[in-house]
């Protein structure tokens, strides 16, 4: 439970207690109805004006659905591929082939892990170069069989470790981005939690990019930014505001095409609902993308990314494209 969610959880607890009691004391039902109404109001108030930092906390919420949950929640069938055929298998990246209803997809996502052991095994969702190279393997399978690609972005970032650098993570990230800009199948990307810099972008280039309402995407973590900006990583909440990293900001900058609404309070409060919405969005988007000829699709993908950026062209005094 996050600090600002307390009033919601407390009220919910009270309602549940009353519900148990009401089995023997039906006169309590009226009170329950009253409190349920109040709960709606409290939720409204708590989740209406969230600060960027509160959104960061929801994006990192321990119960937030991860890539693995989306895959299990959406796919009828899924076969996971393992290893990069160079060095090893990086379990902070899940990749595989699957079916959603009757349509076949290649799916790649970063996975943070849930239990302490799993988190350690998955390196808290921070990929090594093998993760990106496995992703590239998956992209090649997609191209060979003409399967569209779905990616789920959820990582604090690339792993700052010795092995990751020894095996060229900068090169691996760049090559994965390069592979995606030219990939000859539709790519649909979902920012489902935390989009941490280059490690996120390495699987985040898409024809359509969606962000879940309470997800974030940033060039640097708020803590890292605060350490540089204020020489104090505890000022992360302030840094989060400055970085403009919420889904709403991303939409304004043209980084994402659409925001996917989450259940009130975040996806973790009703996972089935968010799976349904994401699944619908996948099918709807694929229907739209598959009609476009591949050359045209690649041209559009390129144009989309060439448009991103805000700069000045001083010769004629105009501000450049957005």
């Amino acid at each position: 439970m996050l600090e600002f969610e307390k009033p919601v959880y407390e009220l919910e607890k009270k309602i549940n207690e009353l519900k148990i009691l009401s089995k023997s004391r039906p006169e309590l039902l009226e009170e329950i109805t009253r409190l349920e109404k109040k709960l709606e109001k409290v939720k409204e108030d708590v989740y209406k004006n969230l600060s960027s930092w509160q959104i960061v906390q929801i994006a990192r919420h321990p119960d937030r659905p991860h890539s693995i949950d989306f895959i299990n929640g959406i796919c009828g069938e899924f076969f996971e591929i393992r290893g990069d055929r160079f060095f090893g298998d990086d379990s902070s990246v899940i990749a595989g082939i699957g079916k959603i209803d009757k349509t076949k997809f290649v799916i790649v996502g970063q996975e943070k892990g849930r239990s302490t052991k799993e988190k350690i095994d998955r390196n808290f969702g921070m990929p090594h170069p093998e993760g990106y190279r496995k992703a590239m393997r998956a992209f090649s399978i997609a191209e060979k069989f003409c399967f569209p690609v779905i990616t789920f972005v959820d990582t604090p970032g690339a792993y700052p470790g010795i092995g990751a650098e020894e095996r060229g993570q900068a090169w691996a990230i760049s090559m994965s981005i390069y592979r995606m800009i030219g990939l000859k199948v539709p790519i649909i990307t979902f920012i489902i939690g935390e989009g941490g810099s280059g490690g996120a972008l390495a699987i985040g280039v898409g024809d359509k990019v969606f962000a879940l309402e309470y997800s974030i995407y940033s060039v640097i973590s708020p803590e890292g930014c605060a350490a540089i900006l204020f020489r104090d990583s505890s000022k992360a909440s302030k840094a989060a505001e400055h970085l403009k990293l919420t889904a709403k900001n991303l939409l304004e900058f043209g980084i994402v095409d659409e925001i996917i609404k989450e259940p009130k309070g975040g996806a973790h409060r009703n996972k089935e609902e968010i799976f349904e919405r994401v699944k619908e969005k996948i099918m709807e988007t694929y229907e739209e993308l598959k009609k476009i000829k591949i050359d045209e699709l690649l041209r559009k993908r390129k144009e989309k990314y060439l448009k991103i950026g805000i700069y000045k062209e001083v010769k004629n005094g105009t501000t450049g494209n957005t």
Binding site: A158, Y159, P160, G161, I162, A164, E165, E166, R167, G168, Q169, A170, W171, I173, S174, M175, I177, Y178, I181, G182, S197, G198, L201, A202, V205, Y217, S218, V219, I220, C225, I228, L229, H242, L243, K244, L245, N249, L250, F253, I255, K302, Y305, L306, I308, G309, I310, Y311, K312, E313, V314, K315, N316, T319, G320, T322
Partner: protein, 272 residues
């Protein structure tokens, strides 16, 4: 951040002080001697960081270099604290309008396009203007059928002050490299100290041929961040050019005094 304090051979400063200590061996060196030696220590061959303009002077034939796209400058899209001030200061300090110079000129008999970043301009970091300039010089190289040489030094990679827009320049610059590939335009990268983060993780990693200056720090995560994460000291030479050569990431470690010769040699085969 994690890099050494940049050296800025500003004209005034050169006049004011005639001597400089080598950052590596501590030898006291005469500025004129260093200049003649392309800012490489004659004793230990430590490579001082030099501004973009010096590379132009050292590589291109006299007065052959023409700057292009210098009308493109950074904006402040996030209204980020102190960014406008930082840009203003960087411009005054370097005499540049952005952290990179793009243009074309002659190296020996070859006319080539060049992209050269400058570490003394906000750490040579990549924002929207930087990314756009890289893409435009790629387009120019394609339309004029000229090879592209990229010389990079960037401490943090993507420029924090432009947030997510900076990160997206990794895609834009890679699109530039793709354009070169599709049109069979040679692309040579020269990686200088330091080339890190989003710059190394995009166009700087994709050269047909990739050279690196002696001792240059090359990689993704900065050494300090790694040390804080793994709570141990990094081995000597970690992420340096020699280390990256050993790990198969670059083609050759070069001495700056040989850079021009090397480029001519490569162009002689790729573009003759």
């Amino acid at each position: 951040m994690f890099f050494r304090k940049p050296f800025k051979p500003d004209k005034k400063e050169i006049k004011a002080e005639v001597w400089r200590k080598c950052d590596s061996c501590g030898e006291t060196l005469h500025i004129a001697q260093l200049e003649k030696n392309l800012w490489v220590c004659p004793k230990c061959s430590f490579h001082f960081r030099i501004p973009a303009k010096k590379y132009i002077e050292y590589i291109f034939e006299k007065e052959s270099f023409v700057e292009l796209f210098n009308e493109i400058e950074s904006d402040d899209p996030l209204n980020f604290p102190d960014y406008k001030k930082k840009l203003k200061k960087a411009k005054e300090k370097t005499g540049l309008k952005e952290a990179c110079i793009t243009g074309k000129g002659k190296i020996d008999k070859f006319t080539v396009c060049a992209f050269i970043s400058d570490f003394s301009f906000i750490g040579g970091s990549m924002g929207s203007a930087y990314g756009e300039k890289f893409y435009r010089i790629c387009e120019h190289a394609v339309s004029e059928k000229l090879p592209l040489i990229s010389i990079t030094s960037s401490g943090g990679g993507a420029r924090m002050q432009e947030g997510i827009l900076s990160l997206m320049q990794l895609v834009k610059t890679n699109l530039g490299v793709k354009l070169l590939e599709e049109n069979k335009i040679p692309y040579i990268t020269v990686l200088c100290d330091p080339t890190m983060g989003g710059v190394m993780a995009s166009f700087a990693a994709l050269g047909d041929i990739s050279l690196a200056e002696k001792g240059a720090l090359l990689g993704f995560a900065g050494p300090r961040v790694i040390e804080q994460t793994i709570r141990q000291k990094l081995p000597e030479g970690f992420q340096r050019a020699e280390f990256q050569l050993e790990h198969g990431m670059i083609d050759e470690v070069i001495d700056r005094r040989e850079l021009k010769k090397k480029l001519i040699k490569i162009l002689n085969i790729l573009w003759d």
